[in-house]
């Protein structure tokens, strides 16, 4: 196989993280069930089933984000391989053969990643349980570490990785043999054919979803059933927004770019970030999803808490002890969702690295024309900051809107509730998210920036890069 392992490090990591996450969730669920069974045999089945359902909901979110990241990574890798693929096409390889080769790489990546993740997940669960038993935190029961159900998340991750590679490899079909001969320009065409259908679907889904969501909120003022309507509206509109990311992410990136000042390196970075709207949208949407989910849960529970507090004043006995449960829930959920955000962050870091690798010649040109190493470095950092800020900004807005809608639909009608409320945003969340964005910017730009400054200006003069 001609693929270097280096190309696929990030995809293997994403698959391993998703698989480890799924395995660990099920292991924890299993251990909790064992504990509960020892306490109270009668409730075992019900608790075990609901815990497993919760585990699968979070696994689905992680796999979904992972799939988007992997698809995007493969598309980016192929963009960088255009010349090689064109050469093979010229010699007589068919585009199907080329695509199959890429899909095979996805197969191997999925296999290795999900297996590594499974091993890591089991090992982590085993270590954690043994430690807790050792310190007397939990009783020493017959915990099972290899239940057959573990195969489910592992195979889901393997299959989605393979599928994502297949979808991401679509681009191979557009490479013509001519690109090997001509002094081919940089890849600039977007998948414009599939784009129109997607845009229409995105807009239709978003509008229908938002209408249903508003209905849910209104219904929530009279009945708690509003939340069920709201969930449907939320899923539809969010799917529409993810599909239509190319319609609004470039604007968000441009706005973020304005914050960066007007020095030459900031302006070039801003232009780079919106150069291929399709690509930068895919690059950031994973992170947008992660931040939206975290924010949604945090805002929902905070708003929820405020409404409960209001209601408590009217009827103190009814809501005793609710506070403690809520804050435990929000912590657990944030950690679980945070894992998806981590996967999305891996994808963004990797994509920035790849895009620097693919821009060697252009960076060489800037060096030849008089960009100092420091200026090139700053340009990469600014570009990275722009992606983080745009993703975090959009994620926060969406999360606040969805979180508020959820709380409103669920509690708008409860006894003593004030009806419509304004969303309350926990300040701790804002601080954490901003800190995370800053860290991500720094981490994402470290290695690309170092690599970029190592590019010799002579690269720009070479006829073949």
């Amino acid at each position: 196989m001609r693929a270097s392992l280096r190309d696929h490090r990030a995809s293997v990591l994403v698959a391993a993280l998703s698989s480890a996450f799924g395995v660990l969730l099920l292991e924890v669920t299993g251990a909790l069930s064992t504990l509960v069974t020892a306490d109270d045999i009668g409730r075992h089945a019900a608790v075990s089933v609901s815990l497993t359902i919760v585990a699968f909901v979070f696994l689905t979110i992680a796999v979904y984000v992972g799939a988007i990241v992997t698809t995007n990574t493969f598309a980016t890798i192929i963009a960088g391989r255009t010349k090689t693929i064109a050469l093979l096409r010229l010699i007589g390889s068919s585009s199907r053969q080329e695509r199959r080769a890429v899909a095979t790489e996805g197969f191997v990546v999925g296999l290795i990643g999900s297996a590594l993740g499974a091993v890591a997940g089991v090992a982590a669960a085993f270590g954690a349980v043994r430690t807790m038993v050792g310190t007397g935190l939990i009783p020493d029961l017959a915990y099972e570490f290899f239940p057959p159900v573990l195969l489910v998340p592992v195979s889901i991750v393997f299959l989605t990785t393979w599928l994502s590679a297949w979808i991401g490899s679509r681009r191979v079909l557009q490479v013509t043999p001519l690109e090997a001969v001509g002094a081919s320009q940089e890849l600039s065409r977007d998948e414009s054919d599939s784009r129109r259908g997607r845009t229409v679907a995105a807009i239709v889904l978003s509008i229908i979803g938002i209408v249903i969501l508003v209905l849910g909120v209104l219904l929530g003022l009279v009945s708690q059933l509003g939340v069920l309507v709201g969930v449907v509206g939320g899923i539809l509109s969010f799917t529409g927004l993810v599909l239509g990311a190319h319609l609004f992410m470039p604007t968000a990136l441009q706005l973020a770019g304005r914050l960066m000042g007007s020095s030459a390196e900031a302006r070039l970075a801003a232009a780079n970030a919106v150069r291929y709207p399709e690509r930068s949208s895919r690059m950031t949407i994973g992170l947008v999803i992660g931040i939206t989910l975290i924010t949604m849960f945090a805002v929902a529970t905070q708003t929820f808490q405020d409404m409960i507090h209001e209601a408590m004043r009217a009827d103190p006995q009814m809501y005793q002890g609710v506070d403690g449960v809520l804050s435990v829930l929000v912590t657990v959920f944030s950690v679980l969702i945070g894992f998806s955000a981590l996967i999305a962050a891996v994808g963004m870091v990797n994509n920035l690295s790849l895009s620097v690798l693919q821009r060697q010649r252009e960076l060489g040109l800037l060096r030849a024309l008089g960009f100092t190493g420091g200026q090139v470095k700053r340009m990469i950092v600014v570009e990275s900051a722009q992606y983080s800020i745009a993703a975090v900004g959009v994620g926060l807005l969406l999360g606040i809107a969805y979180g508020w809608a959820g709380a409103q639909a669920l509690l708008g009608s409860i006894h003593g509730s004030p009806g419509l409320v304004i969303p309350s945003v926990p300040w701790l969340l804002l601080v954490l998210v901003v800190a995370a964005a800053a860290t991500l910017t720094a981490v994402a730009s470290v290695s690309p920036a170092r690599r970029a400054t190592r590019i010799a200006p002579v690269v720009a003069l070479a006829v073949d890069s």
Binding site: S263, A264, L365, G370, F371, G373
Partner: protein, 253 residues
């Protein structure tokens, strides 16, 4: 070594320049004891077959690569021992480049590309410089194109933008690396005439690396390199004379 360039009328020179790659048995000598000077205001062509060292010579003179031994001067600055940052500033302010593959920044429009060297310096062109750039844009026939992006331009137009960018800062020396290599013959002749005009009308010093006798016939002076050495130095010649000299070089080898 004291060197007064105004007195010698040289814009750049190298002395006893050698460049080798690798070591031991695998050593490749790209330049072997080369000493040349480029005259102020001259359009100089550097010719030679592939592997003759002409590109290496240009890279070293432009501060893009460092020599193994010998010294390199740009004007009265010895650039041999300059660090990366100083070389960067030198390229930004005192050297211009025109490459074979046009090499414009794809995210900037025509005017953005032309003004890039000023932007890199964190300043806007002053009134005098602005007038000069407007004059360049007009004489290069780019006036209707200033807001276009590079991908919307033909190869010849892109190369004219690159020339405007190279001349915009009025550098000591413009390096052109096979500037017509990717152009059809008509656009190629246009680009060469523009370079020659920049030299005669504005006194711009230009060093052009090429293997094309027609391109070299536009130059005031032609230097021939072979196997890392300067083998011939002649004044303006016709394409036929240059071709026949190159053929004689081939048969002598």
């Amino acid at each position: 070594m004291a060197f007064n360039y105004a007195q010698d009328g040289l814009v750049a020179r190298v002395t006893e320049l050698s460049k080798t790659y690798g070591d031991g048995a695998a050593t490749i000598t790209a330049l072997d004891d080369v000493s040349i000077g480029l005259r102020q205001g001259d359009f100089t062509a550097i010719m030679g077959p592939s592997g003759s060292g002409k590109s290496t010579l240009m890279h070293i003179m432009a501060g893009l690569d460092s020599p193994t031994s010998g010294s390199v001067w740009l004007g009265d600055t010895d650039i041999t021992a300059l660090g990366d940052t100083q070389l960067t500033l030198l390229r930004r302010r005192r050297v211009g480049f025109v490459f074979q593959s046009f090499n414009l920044v794809p995210t900037l429009d025509v005017m953005g590309n032309i003004l890039l060297p000023f932007e890199l310096d964190g300043r806007r062109p002053n009134g005098d410089e602005r007038a000069w750039i407007d004059q360049l844009v007009a004489s290069l026939g780019l006036r209707d194109r200033v807001t276009h992006r590079p991908h919307a331009l033909s190869g010849g137009q892109q190369q004219r933008v690159a020339i405007a960018r190279a001349l915009g800062t009025r550098p000591d020396l413009v390096f052109a690396d096979e500037p017509t290599g990717n152009l059809d013959s008509r656009s190629g002749r246009e680009v060469l005439s523009l370079l020659a005009a920049a030299s005669t009308e504005y006194g711009q010093s230009i060093a052009m690396v090429t293997h094309d006798p027609i391109a070299a016939s536009y130059a005031d002076r032609i230097l021939f390199l072979a196997d890392g050495r300067v083998v011939h130095d002649r004044a303006r010649s016709s394409a036929e004379e240059i071709s026949s000299f190159m053929l004689s070089m081939e048969s002598a080898a």
